[in-house]
């Protein structure tokens, strides 16, 4: 995707967003389905996608809404899952054009997702507001459209297709965590520790009272803290991890 001589125009942003948009269509379709199967109306599912624009956070938050979770639980779970965006926005703040105004920053930061961030950081040199706007718009459209289609199609789709689509979000997560795990031992350790802890919390009866939101928080904090103590990142590694 890195083409040094091509100027970072709005149109190039829109184009670079197409692969992300396609990935989002399938996952947001599954999200829309999950929301309406849980009893939420179509417009709420689309509203969540258009106001949140995040995969893991809104899946977890919506699952908690459906199961009648407390506001504080919804807030803390969503926040912990989204802490990673602080790191991404921080890296991005070093990468954007100094001329980017505050209103532009306020608007564009809404569109920082794992995938949009990764593509933005691959560009040569500083990035401007026009390019970033284009890069956000295509996936945003895909995320909203996929949610609507999934939410509206729930009643029409055969059960066999619906149960199969339940795995789509986890497939996307695996697509995000596996490739860096094969290249970085600290990330592999983080992923394995978090997975093992999470399985323990789910299968050992002693922890039966904990909701899935708190389990994610405890496992993620413990695994990341352990990895941070054992493998503090250096500057170069930090860039690799972020990309």
């Amino acid at each position: 995707m890195t083409q040094p001589l091509q100027p970072l125009t709005f149109q190039k942003g829109l184009r670079d967003g197409i692969p992300i948009c396609l990935g989002y269509l399938s996952v947001s379709f599954a999200f829309g389905m999950m929301a309406t199967e849980g009893g939420l109306p179509v417009w709420i599912a689309v509203l969540i996608s258009m106001t949140n624009l995040t995969s893991a956070g809104q899946f977890a938050g919506t699952a908690l809404i459906i199961s009648g979770g407390m506001y504080i639980e919804i807030a803390v779970t969503t926040f912990v899952i989204n802490i990673r965006y602080m790191l991404m926005s921080l890296s991005l703040s070093q990468k954007v054009d100094d001329r980017m105004t505050l209103p532009q920053r306020l608007g564009l930061s809404f569109g920082v997702t794992d995938e949009i961030f990764a593509v933005a950081m691959q560009q040569k040199g500083l990035i401007n507001a026009r390019y970033l706007t284009g890069l956000i718009l295509t996936p945003y459209f895909g995320w909203a459209l996929g949610t609507f289609l999934g939410a509206a199609a729930t009643g029409v789709l055969p059960l066999a297709v619906r149960t199969a689509l339940g795995i789509a979000i986890y497939g996307m997560f695996i697509a995000i965590i596996v490739p860096p795990s094969t290249k970085s031992r600290p990330i592999l350790l983080t992923v394995i520790v978090a997975a093992v802890l999470s399985c323990l919390f789910h299968y050992v009866p002693v922890f039966g009272g904990l909701s899935s939101g708190w389990i994610i928080i405890i496992c993620a904090v413990a695994a990341s803290a352990l990895a941070a103590l054992k493998f503090p990142v250096t500057e170069e590694e930090e860039r690799e991890v972020a990309a």
Binding site: I44, A228, V241
Partner: protein, 108 residues
């Protein structure tokens, strides 16, 4: 359906999703220097996604066997660096096939 409660919850989600994205880009324009905090933040995304995936993925389909087939498919495709769409739809496809076969055999 309790719409006020749901809409407040959606607003809460939107705010706690927006703040971590907005604050560093708009307000803090300096770099974090604490090495532990930086390292912790670097590992958090992977830890969160891993804790969300395991063991939930095994309960995400109609039965354990189709979920296992989908999980293995996703791991293999991701290991060979396939994109989001390929990994997600690849695992969905294998789950669908597995469940169709299991239904035909009368197991599911």
């Amino acid at each position: 359906m309790n719409y006020p409660k749901i809409l407040i919850a959606v607003a809460v989600m939107a705010v706690v999703t927006y703040l971590p994205r907005m604050l560093p880009l708009a307000v803090f324009r300096k770099k974090i220097n604490n090495r532990f905090v930086k390292s912790f933040l670097a590992y958090v995304p992977f830890a969160v996604l891993s804790a969300m995936t395991f063991p939930e993925i095994l309960a995400s389909t109609a039965c354990l066997w189709s979920a296992l087939a989908g999980l293995i498919t996703a791991l293999i495709l991701a290991y060979f660096n396939r994109g989001l769409l390929t990994v997600a739809l690849g695992s969905v496809g294998v789950v669908f096939l597995t469940e169709t076969i299991l239904r035909c055999c009368g197991i599911l």
